[in-house]
Amino acid sequence: MIYFLLLANKQGKIRLSKWYQNFTKKQKTKLQKEVVSLCLSRSQRSCNFIEWNDYKIIYRRYASLYFMICCDTEDNELIGLEIIHHFVEILDKYFGSVCELDIIFNFQKAYNVLDEVIIDGKLQDSSKKSILRSVGTQDFLILNAPETGTLNL
């Protein structure tokens, strides 16, 4: 079970955060800070798991971006890493070699992809293709919707 997912850059700036447990805004800010600083302070050769309170942080670095998830201690850490990788690969295919800027400017899309990968901290589908297909269809729907012309985000 994933309790929250964070995406931060090397400087510790949060780029994406998704919470599957109810926290107040204050708690969120505090937890974010704590977890991000924990992950950033790790050396590259350390393992990708941190024991943190009664939870476990599983993180993985992709270029300048850190993906972090907070899990139960008894969860399979390796599959946690694999879920992160799964998400990253889907983002990569979706944006076409994803970079930090893609996520900054298209955070809604990134959230939308995340909602297709994980719901309530649980993995939703193991097929990248099927996820990309449904995300693609949704984008197509939006592009062709009569309101889109006036929407102009």
Binding site: R45, I83, I119, S127, S130, L153
Partner: protein, 899 residues
């Protein structure tokens, strides 16, 4: 004019300062607010998008919450998508507004557009609150049967959240989950597996039913393992590792504690657990999960050995992740297979020195896990070796483990002491507080050890008196406690120690400003104990203590004053600082609890004493309380021999009397309570006897003086033991030494408590005497509970409130109509379990004859729970009439008091 989201982001990114960003955002917020006010529907999606971004930057966005609802209520998919995103980002905190979305979500769940249904399901699954989930559970259930796999998989996950938050809905899904598992779509199966795992977690009863699924699950797993290249689900050559891992996890739950189903799994698990190459993370995932499963279910030994070997392969590899996992999993398998683990000990110990803290922590746990009497010496040494290099936090963990190892696995006593001293030397400041308790425990057994420990600590303190505070404290305690043994034995061994050297050392430490106050308490205690153990140093010790009577720390000051005064009464001094008896292991835990529960600043000294004993006993189970009682009595007997003329062992008297006379169901409870009262009384007895021997110039005012005196003694005892308890040591001390000590211990919870008590007692004087004199107003109910043989006992009741719970203050008046006075009066009260009684001492022990005077004794009955109750009690009156002891006991019912 509203700008685009993209432009806003660019603008913010271009601004270099935070104040610049704040300006841009506040300007933008004004615009957005205006747009909302004008019901600008056209720009609403854009504004909400911007708000999500603004929220992300950490600015308040509360004003946009209702707009999100308007967006999700909009029929178009485009608006809904932004609205739902806004809902999940902006509104998770505000459950009321969130709840308003329930009906919109309900409509969307019924939508014909599968993407709209998906939006609603994701949203419900991610942020649904308890009420929403409960309301929408039927809809989610319906969607599990949807035609579209896309909807089914999302519904499965929404169902997980539903049962997670509203467990009573679990029945809805128990019947549905099977069909999900046989779905063709992997996504749906993944969802179904996770749903089933969650169901089993919430409703473990269903496990036997779901065990029937095992063959099907095994077939599914086998087809995945054997499958060739499957483009849709290929992960670096492995077919759907997620699905495999979830199946293995489910098998683990189903196979646990079931030999039959475990057997079915063995073949496939052997195949999965022995395959694969250790190179790819995907492969390792499955291997790891299967190893966990093998170690959890009822698998045969050979399979377990294979699993452990796989883990050790992980352990010896270079990948830190694998090391971590191996250590973590080995710990789970450690109980059953420590033999096969032995071979890997070296590798595990090596991990203790890894650079990565995560790995070191796991290694520490595992090292502790494989520890036993045979290897404890070696492993503890390893732990101690890595202590100096460890990080601050980690040192606490290491010392804690070492201490536990010393307690649990010690092969011989001397090693225990050596190791304790070693860990104190190198990691004293990181050690947990009850190290003294361990020391007490270790040294309690025989004199040889006491000598060995005191010599060792003394010598190392002599070598370097700038050791860490914990070390000094432990050394001070040991030297104080066993100073005489140290001297005596050292002479026998021709290494004689000069006693004045010990005292000098104490003086140097206590006067040094680099030592903490806590250390000084210990040294004060050491000194006072040494004064009773070594001849001829009383004056020197007095001189050392004297300046501390004006010390700035009130605790030190009080202690010094009390000790100084104690020199006046040699016998009491010796008694008070007698050596602690050997500790009884079973009592340890109980007493710590007792000590911690003791608070109540307002009660007087005596009620406090009473309360402590009460709590102590009533919180123990019966057997334990007997044990405690025995202990108290044991101590008392010593006193009896020395000081008082208590007829016989109180313990006997109580137990036999009550067991034979009382048919009440509550016998044991009452006995306990009576014991409490009894022990309290006898405390007073012995104390007053002590002071009775004093030359008291003011005989008219005996009671008051006695009170004060008792308080003094109690103060001292309280402090002494408070101190001990603070370090976890006083347990043995207090309990063994007699009631006074026992209670004193209860009071002095720690250093702070000790001080509190000192003052609290002072207050007790006024209250104790005051209460005796003040007559209860006549309005309050009263009853005559006893009127026989010329003795009349009247009770006046008054309702008071203790911490908001009503309590009864009972003033008991004894009058004597016979011409002969009644002496040695002891009045005791026992109440049912849900009540608690706190006794004050009687105004006198003698009831004068011919109704010429009366004796009053006040007690308070407190309810443990705030339930209306009728006061009933068991009373016992003992007195001497014409030199003959009289003892009567009776149940007092129908009292005119409900509270």
């Amino acid at each position: 004019m509203s700008i685009k989201l993209h432009d806003l982001i660019t603008k913010v990114r271009e601004s270099s300062t935070t104040s610049g960003i704040r300006e841009i955002i506040s300007e933008e917020c004004v615009q957005i607010r205006n747009a909302f006010r004008k019901e600008d529907t056209k720009n609403r999606p854009r504004n909400i998008s911007k708000l999500i971004y603004i929220d992300f930057l950490g600015f308040p966005t509360d004003f946009g919450q209702l707009e999100c609802l308007k967006l999700i209520a909009h029929p178009s998919y485009v608006c809904k998508r932004i609205g739902y995103l806004g809902l999940s980002v902006l509104l998770t905190e505000n459950e009321e507004v969130l709840f308003m979305s329930t009906n919109i979500i309900r409509t969307d769940l019924a939508s014909e557009n599968k993407f709209i249904v998906a939006l609603a399901l994701s949203s419900l699954g991610n942020i649904g609150s308890v009420e929403m989930l409960r309301d929408l559970a039927p809809e989610v259930e319906k969607l599990l049967k949807s035609q579209t796999a896309y909807i089914r998989k999302k519904a499965a996950l929404a169902a997980i959240r539903t049962i997670r938050f509203v467990p009573e809905t679990v029945d809805r899904y128990v019947g549905r989950v099977k069909s999900l598992l046989s779905d063709k779509n992997h996504g749906v199966v993944v969802g179904g597996l996770q749903l089933l795992i969650e169901i089993l977690k919430i409703e473990p009863k269903t496990i036997s039913e779901f065990r029937k699924l095992v063959p099907g699950l095994l077939r599914m797993l086998k087809s995945l393992v054997d499958a060739g290249y499957a483009p849709e689900y290929d992960f670096e050559g492995v077919t759907d590792p997620f699905l495999q891992v979830f199946i293995l996890r489910l098998l683990r739950i189903l196979g646990k504690d079931s030999k039959k189903y475990s057997n079915q799994m063995i073949d496939l698990l052997t195949q999965v657990g022995t395959s694969s190459g250790l190179n790819k993370n995907v492969e390792n995932c499955i291997l790891y999960e299967s190893v966990s499963t093998i170690l959890t279910i009822e698998s045969p030994n050979r399979l377990r050995v294979t699993a452990i070997n796989t883990l050790s392969k992980f352990l010896s590899g270079k990948d830190n992740n694998m090391k971590y996992i191996a250590l973590n999993t080995l710990l789970k398998g450690v109980n059953k297979d420590s033999k096969s683990l032995k071979r890997h000990r070296k590798v595990i110990v090596k991990c203790l020195r890894d650079k990565d803290i995560s790995i070191r922590r796991r290694a520490l746990d595992l090292v502790f896990g494989i520890m036993n009497k045979k290897n404890v010496k070696e492993l503890t040494q390893e732990l101690l070796d890595c202590l100096p290099k460890a990080e601050h936090d980690f040192r606490f963990d290491i010392t804690a483990k070492v201490c536990t190892a010393i307690e649990k696995f010690s092969p011989d006593d001397q090693w225990q002491i050596d190791t304790l001293v070693q860990v104190l030397t190198i990691g004293g400041q990181y050690i947990r507080d009850d190290v003294i308790a361990i020391m007490t425990h270790v040294t309690g057994r025989n004199q040889e050890l006491q000598y060995y420990a005191s010599k060792k600590l003394y010598n190392s303190l002599l070598d370097d008196r700038y050791r860490n505070q914990k070390f000094i404290q432990v050394a001070a305690w040991v030297i104080g406690e066993f100073g005489d043994i140290l001297l005596k034995k050292s002479i026998e061994e021709n290494e004689s120690i000069d006693p004045s050297q010990i005292i000098d050392l104490c003086q140097i430490i206590i006067t040094s400003s680099r030592n903490e106050d806590l250390t000084k308490y210990f040294i004060l205690n050491t000194l006072i104990k040494l004064s009773t153990r070594i001849e001829g140093f009383n004056e020197t010790i007095k001189e050392i203590i004297k300046p501390f009577m004006k010390h700035v720390n009130i605790e030190i000051q009080q202690r010094a004053c009390e000790y100084f005064r104690l020199f006046e009464d040699k016998e009491l001094l010796v008694f008070s600082f007698d050596r602690i008896p050997v500790k009884d292991d079973n009592m340890e835990a109980q007493e710590i609890e007792t000590v911690q529960e003791t608070t109540n600043e307002n009660s007087t000294k005596n009620t406090k004493v009473q309360e402590n004993i009460n709590q102590q006993l009533s919180h123990n189970d019966n057997q334990k309380s007997q044990g405690t009682g025995m202990k108290i009595m044991g101590g008392n007997n010593v006193i009896t021999q020395n000081k008082t003329q208590q007829p016989s062992s109180i313990e006997n008297l109580l137990q036999l009397d009550f067991n034979s006379n009382n048919n009440n169901q509550n016998v044991n409870k009452q006995t306990t309570n009576i014991q409490n009262t009894q022990s309290n009384q006898s405390t007073e007895d012995f104390l007053s006897d002590i002071f009775g021997t004093n030359n008291n110039p003011n005989s008219n005012n005996t009671q008051n003086v006695q009170n004060t005196k008792i308080q003094n003694v109690m103060g001292i005892l309280g402090t002494e033991n408070g101190m001990g308890t603070g370090t976890g040591m006083g347990r043995g001390t207090g309990m063994g030494r007699g009631t006074g000590m026992g209670t004193g211990m209860g009071m002095g919870r720690g250093m702070g408590m000790g001080t509190g008590m000192g003052t609290g007692m002072g207050r007790g004087t006024g209250m104790g005497t005051g209460r005796g004199n003040v007559n209860t107003p006549k309005k309050n109910p009263s009853a005559i509970i006893y009127n026989q043989d010329g003795l009349k006992i009247q009770m006046n009741f008054k309702l008071v409130s203790v911490n908001g719970i009503p309590a009864a203050m009972v003033q008991t008046i004894f009058t004597n109509s016979t011409p002969t006075p009644m002496t040695n009066l002891i009045f005791q009260v026992a109440v049912p379990k849900h009540l608690q009684v706190q006794m004050a001492p009687p105004s006198s022990k003698i009831i004068p004859g011919n109704n010429t005077g009366k004796v009053t004794q006040t007690f308070r009955v407190i309810k443990k729970q705030n339930i209306k109750t009728k006061l009933t009690m068991m009373t016992r009156i003992q007195y001497k009439f014409n030199g003959m002891p009289v003892s009567k006991q009776q149940e007092v019912k129908n009292l005119p008091l409900i509270f």
